[in-house]
Symmetry: C2
Subunit: 155 residues, 2 copies
Amino acid sequence: MNRLVVTVIAAAAALTSLSAAAQFQKPEDAIKYRQSAMTVMGNHLGRVAAMVQGRVPFDAKVAAENAAIVVTMSKLPWVAFGEGTDKGMPTRAKPEIWKDQARFKDLENKMMTEAEKLEAAAKTGNLDNIKSALGPLGRACKSCHDDFRNEKYSN
Amino acid sequence: MNRLVVTVIAAAAALTSLSAAAQFQKPEDAIKYRQSAMTVMGNHLGRVAAMVQGRVPFDAKVAAENAAIVVTMSKLPWVAFGEGTDKGMPTRAKPEIWKDQARFKDLENKMMTEAEKLEAAAKTGNLDNIKSALGPLGRACKSCHDDFRNEKYSN
């Protein structure tokens, strides 16, 4: 790959992290990344929830597509909660994340598992199945947010 | 689905958009979402680029996983560039996006196509194939950023 193309990619990407050794060069890269992954996940989970709540018409294909994105996103944020990423830009991450890694990890896993169950339910094309899977996933989100996410962003 | 669970999900999600009719309730929801999708896409593209550039050891499985995430993310931002989302929170989106929708759409499609080619290349497990696919994708990113993205965020 020639130097020009490498430069083009580096410039074009202009990204959060083109880090070599580390996935994130700076704590703020990690914080921005995990917040972004959560934002995207939340949006797509919200689209499924809107169907379950009857606020938008149920469309099995759209529900399944959104659930699949939720699963993809559910796997991403965790690597960005490394040591030293408790500050660097405004964050709602509580210090408890780094004090109780075992519980944080348990709740990560719980959420990922419930997201996969939602995707499986969505693949059946049956709204009742999706409803049944959405509750446990919502509770998994909430239990982690309750313990590990502040109401307000740090400065 | 009972009211408690609905409330739990609404609270747990605490998301950018649980919008009913519209995917995004407010312009800032759309802007935050598209910026988040770009951030996640950029991070994972950066991980592939780091291997191509020799800054991290090549791992075919990891490259393929990251390329797959790039493809998923490449499809997401566009719906969030609706009319009226030119402001609402700091954004680098140029007004040209809404003045030349045909070209913007062309560049979207080009990027998505090149992302799929990168994924296909990554699936071969061959670093040279990945190198060959990364250049055109990088240029697709850059051509759109050149025309439609400002250097600085608006206030």
